[in-house]
Symmetry: C2
Subunit: 599 residues, 2 copies
């Protein structure tokens, strides 16, 4: 049935919504796709719902092709399964919790791993039942601290989440690959360019984790990639440690006065003014030959405070090259599930052995940092701080530093940690060359959960030998409403939206201009004909609206093909208008259907 604008539930708006920070939010509201109901919570208007349904239909088709079956879990769920997995607590403020009239605890599910696991446990018991892939397309809830950017970070949002179930690691790899392939097909169909980047696999302990990112300068995520094909998000990037260096020939630690040098820059300036240039055996072979001291010669010791899940607070010190900073996201992943923040003044007061601005792992009287040291504070090193590298760092005495302090000889850490920021030019871990830093938007995530949830909830099956084995799972998510917003974000101009044909709310927008009856007769007939040929037609049949307003609405709404029926209608001529290129072309009305089909 042709949809007529004279009756359709649509009002375009002239003004941008006051709270819109990004173009997808601004345009989806102005063009009448969505409407704000509460912070981060939106009402879907008919246009928006049509686009959403098209995206869902592409996803469903490829899930079916991947052998996954659709189920649907409740959004309102009891506490118990989330208690078993530990997530009732670990979600913190990030979820909506409530009680029913009997006082039983419930939550609005932000994700359904527990329920999928329990459902399969409930119904399946044998290796013969596996592999299995099931998915749902469902409205989910997260109580974001700062809902923003419209649909990009909402509190109610639609996700497709799929899970695979296998009883062997090989099976799990095959299931993973099948979903990964389906994701490639989905994004290809949606016309969304993507890069598959290695991602952190989090707490679950599964072997593989990859994100699908759409590369775009306006992306909110950074990722790194090499010309040789390596790609990873910043959290998953692993530093290539240099080979250890023999201690022979390295000088001894030298303490020197360094008044008023609490920062790396003041220290470097001081060293260049008062010390000899960094020479062999002083600054260490890794930076041999440098004409002067630089931040790269220094070892920066950063005091962090972790808050563990049980509420305990632990100080930890990370030693990283002075020319790098702690990357918050990498630190978050490195210390998860603990929360990380900078140490406070109070923390320093509680640890008087730490001389602020002059902290280092070593003193003449023994180790200062590390679990076995005077402070007892855990000390973790950047992977570049290998044995035999020599560093300039704090001497744990006010206004004194030390240089030619050799890792593995003069100090050691309790382990290594990936918290330093990644820089363009850093070597890709797979040897494929230096990386560049790019920006992208996350559009999908596939990862192996391994046996985390199956262990927590007791999902086991009997294997070929009648032995109970724990099932291994994969998790595969796409944010449906997020994808919609990203497509809108990437497909617009100053006039409005420009939908790719695969997800456009209508295939063609017929605009009748002027007041002559023939225009409406031709438009009517053409619209019916196009609809009969299988196209979804939006027909602007509004009788008393000016051509300018109609064109403006058509540009704002963004249906990719527009047909203008105007003065030429009496002679059987109409105009085809390509919303993306802006090209207009006069064609006989009899050819419109064929021409549109050809596009």
């Amino acid at each position: 049935m042709v949809t007529r604008l004279s009756h359709f539930f649509l009002r375009t708006l002239r003004e941008d919504p006051a709270d819109a920070e990004v173009s997808s939010h601004r345009l989806l509201v102005r063009a009448g796709y969505i409407r704000r109901a509460a912070p981060g919570i939106f009402t879907w208007l008919p246009l928006g719902l049509r686009v959403k349904a098209k995206i869902e239909s592409v996803i469903r088709e490829e899930m079916t092709n991947a052998g996954a079956y659709e189920v649907h879990f409740p959004a309102l769920l009891p506490r118990e399964p989330y208690e078993s997995s530990g997530r009732w607590n670990s979600y913190g403020d990030g979820i909506f919790r409530l009680q029913d009239r009997k006082g039983a605890d419930y939550l609005l599910a932000p994700t359904h791993e527990e329920m999928f696991t329990l459902l399969v446990k409930d119904l399946y018991s044998s290796y013969k039942d596996l592999p299995l892939a099931i998915y749902q397309i469902q409205d989910k809830y997260r109580d974001e601290a700062r809902p923003r950017a419209g649909l990009l970070r909402g509190r109610e949002f639609t996700m497709k989440d799929a899970y695979s179930f296998d009883y062997t690691d090989e099976g799990q790899d095959a299931s993973y690959q099948s979903q990964r392939d389906a994701y490639e097909r989905i994004f290809q169909k949606l016309g969304l360019e993507y890069v598959i980047v290695a991602a952190d696999n989090g707490l679950m302990g599964g072997a593989r984790s990859e994100e699908f990112l759409h590369p775009t300068p306006i992306g909110e995520d950074s990722f790194v990639r090499s010309a040789g094909g390596y790609a990873a998000n910043v959290e998953a990037f692993t530093t290539t440690a240099p080979a250890p260096i023999p201690f022979e020939g390295l000088g001894e630690p030298v303490i020197f006065d360094s008044p008023n040098t609490p920062t790396i820059q003041t220290l470097v300036d001081h060293a260049n003014a008062h010390l000899d240039a960094p020479a062999d055996g002083i600054a260490g072979p890794a930076t041999d030959g440098a004409a002067e001291w630089t931040a790269a010669h220094t070892l920066k010791n950063v005091v962090l405070a972790l808050t563990h899940l049980d509420g305990t607070r632990e100080l930890v010190i990370v030693g990283i090259p002075g020319d790098r900073d702690v990357d918050d996201k990498r630190a978050e992943v490195a210390f998860a599930p603990a929360a990380v923040e900078a140490a406070t003044e109070q923390d320093f007061e509680n640890n008087p052995l730490l001389v602020k601005g002059y902290i280092g792992p070593w003193s003449e009287t023994g180790a200062v940092l590390g679990e076995q040291s005077a402070t007892g504070i855990r000390y973790l090193l950047d992977p570049r701080v290998v044995d035999g590298t020599a560093w300039m760092t704090g001497a744990n005495i006010d206004e004194k530093h030390v240089h030619t302090l050799v890792a593995g000889r003069d100090f050691t850490g309790d382990g290594f940690v990936e918290v330093a920021n990644v820089r363009a030019g850093d070597p890709a871990p797979d040897g494929s060359g230096p990386v560049e830093i790019a920006r992208g938007m996350e559009i999908g995530h596939v990862f192996q959960l391994g046996r985390f949830f199956a262990d927590a909830l007791g999902l086991k099956v009997l294997d070929e030998n009648g032995k109970l084995v724990t099932v291994t799972m994969g998790s595969y998510g796409i944010g449906v409403t997020r994808i919609l917003a990203i497509i809108a974000e990437l497909n617009n101009d100053e006039k409005g939206l420009i939908w790719p044909a695969s997800v456009a709310p209508f295939d063609v927008h017929v605009v009748a201009t002027g007041r002559e009856p023939v225009v409406f007769e031709v438009s009517e007939k053409l619209s019916a004909e196009l609809e009969a040929s299988g196209l979804d037609v939006l027909y602007d049949d509004r009788p008393k609206v000016s051509p300018g307003v109609k064109f403006g609405d058509a540009e704002l709404v963004g249906v990719p093909q527009i047909v203008i029926v105007g003065r030429g209608a009496a002679d059987g001529q109409v105009e085809l208008w390509d919303r993306r290129t802006g090209d207009r072309e006069v064609v006989p009305v009899a050819e419109v259907a064929a021409r549109l089909a050809a596009r």
Copy 2:
């Protein structure tokens, strides 16, 4: 794509679920359509989701035909709109409430009148924008005190709710009729017999309210209907009041001793033992000529306690013929939004003028019941208690009653009230004859909201004269998951479900029996052919499952057409099995597609 049982996510269960009271619940769980997640909250398995999608698709089609556009509101909504309409409080314990991390109040919407009203207010402003009909298919929430009967009374459920918007009453009538017609088409397509009954129009004050009931002896609702075409639910039935009777010739009230007669039955027995038979002018013309006293001669005064929305408690006394009882549902509707319960001992202690078992409106010293009486308690009469009818009732003295007490002469009420139960044989209010009482299940509800929500939320538009007028609304609901359960409830036998073709999860179920390769080859080819012809095929390709188990599963799952491929396969013969009639017929495999298409 053919769905293969060897991979499909389905496990049928041998045992009925322990908590299943009704056959739809029992069979939908056993046959693998749904699974319990929490009390009144269900997970949808692939089979169930397919049936649900088919029902939704029928509804969407007819909503489109009725000119309604689909939108989708959030389930999680802020308090404010519900505060404006008064429903945040009036819902009481019946809804789920929660707070976000900032302490703002939210609810899980049980229904969306407020949001629809605000959306239209937000976007529309002129009579030219109307009429408008919009709808959604959405998961809704009610915190039922006793969730039960599976999907029939759940706490999370799917509804289609449509609303119409007009600026004139005539427009509203047309919109109402359009939705009412769409409902008829929907239920016809779903193969659900229905009766349209007049329903109570509740607090909203709209003019029309009708329920679609499926008539069935196992229905949970009673309704009344006459041979002449009247139909109403019990709450909406209106009593036909008899004509008033002249007072002339009626006797005077007679007080008589009536020890130990606190109930109607003991009173009637006492009267027949000790009084003259009810004669002209004594029992009153309405029952003239009766040989003995009956309950119908008596006036029963029932003390009810109302709790108003503001929490205040009010006693009210209803006077109804002694051969009838107070119908709880009718009383609930009559006194809504106040809650009704029987008066307590405490209430009687607080009102010493009420002589329990001997309450009546009259005493020799003046009126006892009524706002202007000694007690000041509001007194409402059954519509049959018209002026000139004479009654036997309590005399407000312990162990004394009075007869020949004439309404309008000796006592009056503060008004009339419809709380007495309806009985077979009562006259239909439209004069179409006596009614019978039948049972049914509610499958849809259409009603005019009038201007209740538009007034509460300020939805006005400019009319033709530039004057602001309040919009009038209609509300049209179908419980999607409830309909699914009702269809299951009505279509099953002792072996399992039997779906109507319009909503069956698959069109045909191909069962390969035996172990010979030819059976699987023929089944495979036939399944592919049927799928290619446009049918949804479920193919039981499980290699090591006995025919008995496969047949049992087919009967339980309830796909209406089954094809058995067995020994005859080598000779090109298969069996067509009609799940509903049980008929089996051997047909050449080449004819199966045509034969199924013919059904």
